[in-house]
Symmetry: C2
Subunit: 592 residues, 2 copies
């Protein structure tokens, strides 16, 4: 049976020793979010994830959801777990206190997202989708809408969805056909939406759909899309609205989550934000959702790693190549074998590096929203905007990769359903697709983010990294890391320049470079995280180790692995970027 | 609904234009295997795969196998399809004519394996396992055993299995516990075997198990393992033997294949080959099986690619970055987008390169068995031995990768069960594990193959590649390929030398380099294939194109893509090899 233990030591290391997240207490509204309080809350959250959500993970996969007479039944135990989840206040952790939220930093929520996804990916999507609906209404809703919906979304009595996709329109929202016709104080909305996660279920007594649709006078394309709030039950009298689940998708994974076709037949809805400006509001939901998806990648990687590690310590097979390590046993545990270690260290280095990167961006999200200094807010906002596609794509690619490594570490056992790791791979695979495929993330990076404000977003990352390298290049403890980091950063600057230069003339060049560039970017960012973690660990060791020398030494060893074995991947992507678009574009369609 | 069309043009290009497989007709016994005959046979095989096996692929996944009262029922249609398969003679294509086989080159069988796995991976395993049993009995069986079993295996009336793994012993066969006690003219065998593919089913009227077990006087470890033939029904009177299916595994994929726990309770068996020399016979089965598994990787990649391509031509979404390509439609087909092309070209370049590589080795297998000149036989045998782990590991890694790219190309649709591509990924995943995990393949390469006979195996690959580069470096048509190939080959020689040097002192160094080295090796080998394909295509173009100029041009363009975008991956692995073992090994077990 699989195991999951929330990695509290690692979480605290990143929050306290690497990011010094205590700085958030200086921001008005976050004064109480001391390391002690945050730790206490996270410990509670960890218990919930370990003891309530995780035991339901395989059940959810095996049972899936079922639809009968328009009613979706979630897997055994999900409803009760959701009740416990809401009673603990977890749906409102970072919610606005004005509407009943706890008002804790988004960073706390980011950490919780990781743990929830480790414990039960499918379950986590139910409250996860509510957050997107909450964000959209909180930013763009009228006072009345906020009062009507936000409190119930924060208590978790109601849940939310994002209704974007239609059969013929996924990435290309400009093709949208769902229509909204004015009626009374609102609109009558008609159309079909697909792939609606948590679109219908039995865990809450109402579901608040955020629906994109076209007004009758809408211009063509994405400039004619508006956002509407369409509740399953109308708040005024709790009468049933005309939005129903037509069918459930059968999928590779996330079986515990209901993925619905939603049919709207003159469903009553109200405009959220301005007419025809729905895309802007949608991106508010989407950016929050993309960071959430990045956490899914990390969460699934962490639980995959933990199970691969447990198996590698337990499974006895062959002797170590340089002689028996457990001569009293019939064979050595497979963790003695170099390639098993390569797989485990790849997983460990990813999880810990991605955790630092995610929490760093999570903290900047808080700064971007609440810092009293506008310049500081703007800088943080730029950084979040730049890094969101990088985190979403890289962390979900690696979530799937690490889950696959966990299967490989288990050998044949990993391919069976008994050990649970094959489920992680199946669940993880969706995160590379939804909330914008990873190819779309890469286009966002090179198309929108890279050139924005003459490179201002990029500088929010490049400048501190340059400064860090300059400041620490003489630090003998860090030289083994600073040197390869500086080299890989130089190549990243080179590929950035090439894309900027070629892409200006021909956007196809930027598109052709995009996915490789994003990966190169992510690896350099991971290097930046790893050198900072090595530095923080070294400082603790220099202070005597605080009784955890082994833990800090492991950080430095993992950093070494990252720089020796993982960062060199960036060179491949550098070369692919430099190769240009021609080899992608010269093939005629009929020659494929 | 998914589609599959046997890639006959591509198959013929490799056989006829690149490998000049007609040379096999000069080998006694293969005189009749002319290109015309081979083509005719393959066309028949293609029809069977497209029209009979492929339509059952999704059915097999959805239904799976079931066990009741010791009887395994295969999915709807499998039994009938197997009957058609045997009636067509496909179980005996490359079988020894002395026992009723068609005596065609193994190469024909290799091509068939690819097509069968594209069409229906799970189905293909039933006859595939029979081949392993056939090989073992053909090589090591007594005349009596051969007469008893081989004809029925070749007609397909009986099927075969390989019973190796036990719960506590997978890779480490030395831990085996199954016991064989002499009785009468044979042995009584008792033990439990797991993960037995096609261990029990309803498609044949007997199942011939090749079982590894220990004799009472067996030395410990792998030197005390013997091979036995254990039929489900005893051939003398067709009475039921004591080998029964205890349960079926629930797996990530290959649901159409019955993966059985087999319980042997004093099952009657007969020794195959010498006592305690079972491992050698097992490797005879295993090497054939490993090439078969390599074909599974290619087969699943090919069908994944075909479906991704069809979707990419059909699905309309967004406009091309440099302006509309299909202005009459609401959006352009997604094949106009550079990153969709990157995914498709990666898949195409892999499939076509791997096909050339596989058939090249398949042809050498024939030469190694039947060529009249002993020196030629030996050289071919060495090359097959060297390349078998490379093909098995690289092609199955990429089979999974290409299936995953097909999901990504489909977006959300790829994650649903409707389009069939998610099944390809689930099915493909097993091939990285069974018949020796890909990590074990890499150890085989650096441990057994690299150093064998003071590098003789290696020279069978390095020397022709060196000669090719030297011969063609002045060929202006090929220079764009020869130059990067020569560079990557130089690095491969460098990493080979480092592993040989360090590995001699410390086998851990070889182990730590192994998986990266194998991948580097495979990429260089693919480069060697691609330059030869470009050469063959260029020659055809120079001859006027034979009415297929577009086809030949596409080969050259795909070669360009491979060298620009895929071969640079080898540099990453080169750097990982050069980084040495330390970063893998310095971490204490408790520090993970």
């Amino acid at each position: 049976m699989p195991t999951y233990n929330a990695p509290m030591e690692n979480i605290k290391f990143v929050l306290n020793d690497v990011l010094k997240a205590e700085q958030l207490t200086k921001i008005p509204g976050y004064e109480e979010a001391t390391p002690e309080l945050v730790e206490q809350i996270l410990e509670e959250g960890a218990k919930l994830c370990e003891n309530v959500l995780f035991p339901l993970n395989m059940v959810g996969d095996a049972e899936g959801c079922s639809l009968k007479d328009g009613v979706v039944t979630t897997p055994t135990g999900f409803k009760e777990a959701y009740k416990e989840f809401t009673e603990g206040g977890w749906t409102g952790v970072s919610g606005d206190p004005e509407y009943g939220g706890m008002g804790l930093p988004m960073l706390v929520n980011t950490v919780m997202q990781e743990m929830i996804c480790s414990a039960n990916f499918s379950f986590g999507m139910y409250p996860g989708l509510s957050q997107g609906a909450y964000e959209a209404l909180h930013h763009y809703g009228t006072d009345e809408q906020k009062k009507t919906y936000l409190p119930k979304l924060l208590t978790g009595e109601w849940s939310g969805t994002m209704c974007l996709t239609e059969p013929h329109c996924g990435t290309d929202l400009g093709l949208m056909r769902t229509k909204a016709i004015p009626e009374g104080d609102g609109f009558k909305i008609t159309g079909t939406k697909i792939y609606i996660s948590a679109g219908e279920h039995d865990m809450t007594n109402n579901i608040i759909h955020l629906v994109l649709a076209r007004l009758p006078d809408a211009p063509e394309g994405v400039k004619g899309i508006s956002l509407f709030v369409v509740p399953k039950y109308l708040p005024e009298d709790m009468s049933r609205n005309g939005i129903v689940c037509g069918s459930l998708e059968h999928k590779m994974g996330i079986n515990g989550n209901a993925t619905c076709v939603m049919n709207l037949d003159e469903a009553k809805g109200w405009l959220v934000g301005e007419p025809h400006k729905g895309l802007k509001a949608m991106f508010t939901m989407m950016n929050a959702a993309r960071l959430g998806v990045a956490m899914q990648g990390l969460g699934i990687a962490e639980v995959s790693y933990q199970n691969a590690l447990a198996y590698a310590k337990d499974r006895l097979q062959m002797r170590a190549l340089d002689g028996a390590k457990a001569p009293d046993k019939p064979a050595d545990p497979i963790i003695v074998h170099p390639d098993i270690r390569r797989m485990l260290l790849t997983s460990k280095a990813f999880c810990e590096g991605a955790r630092a990167m995610s929490y760093w961006i999570g903290m900047n999200l808080d700064i971007s929203i609440k810092h009293p200094d506008e310049g500081v807010r703007q800088a943080a906002d730029d950084l979040v905007a730049l890094m969101t596609p990088v985190l979403k794509a890289y962390q979900t690619d690696m979530g799937f990769e690490v889950a696959s490594l966990a299967i490989q570490t288990h050998g044949g056992a990993g391919y069976t359903k008994d050990y649970g790791v094959e489920q992680y791979a199946r669940d993880a695979r969706i995160a590379m697709i939804y909330e914008g495929t990873n190819g779309i993330q890469a286009l966002d990076l090179v198309g929108r983010k890279m050139g924005a404000h003459i490179g201002r977003y990029l500088r929010r990352f490049f400048h501190p990294l340059s400064a860090y390298i300059e400041e620490h290049q003489a630090n003998s403890d860090l030289q083994e890391f600073i040197f390869p980091l500086a080299k890989s950063f130089a190549k990243l600057q080179q590929s950035t320049a090439i894309i900027a230069q070629k892409g200006l003339k021909n956007p196809v060049e930027a598109g052709a470079a995009s996915v490789n560039y994003l990966r190169q970017f992510a690896l350099v960012a991971m290097g930046y995280m790893w050198v900072q973690m090595a530095q923080a660990a070294q400082e603790k060791i220099n202070e005597g180790g605080h009784g955890k020398s082994e833990f800090y030494e492991a950080k430095i060893k993992t950093a070494r692995f990252f720089f020796a074995r993982m960062l060199p991947e960036a060179d491949w992507h550098f070369k692919a970027v430099m190769a240009g678009a021609e080899s992608l574009m010269e093939m005629d369609v009929d020659q494929f």
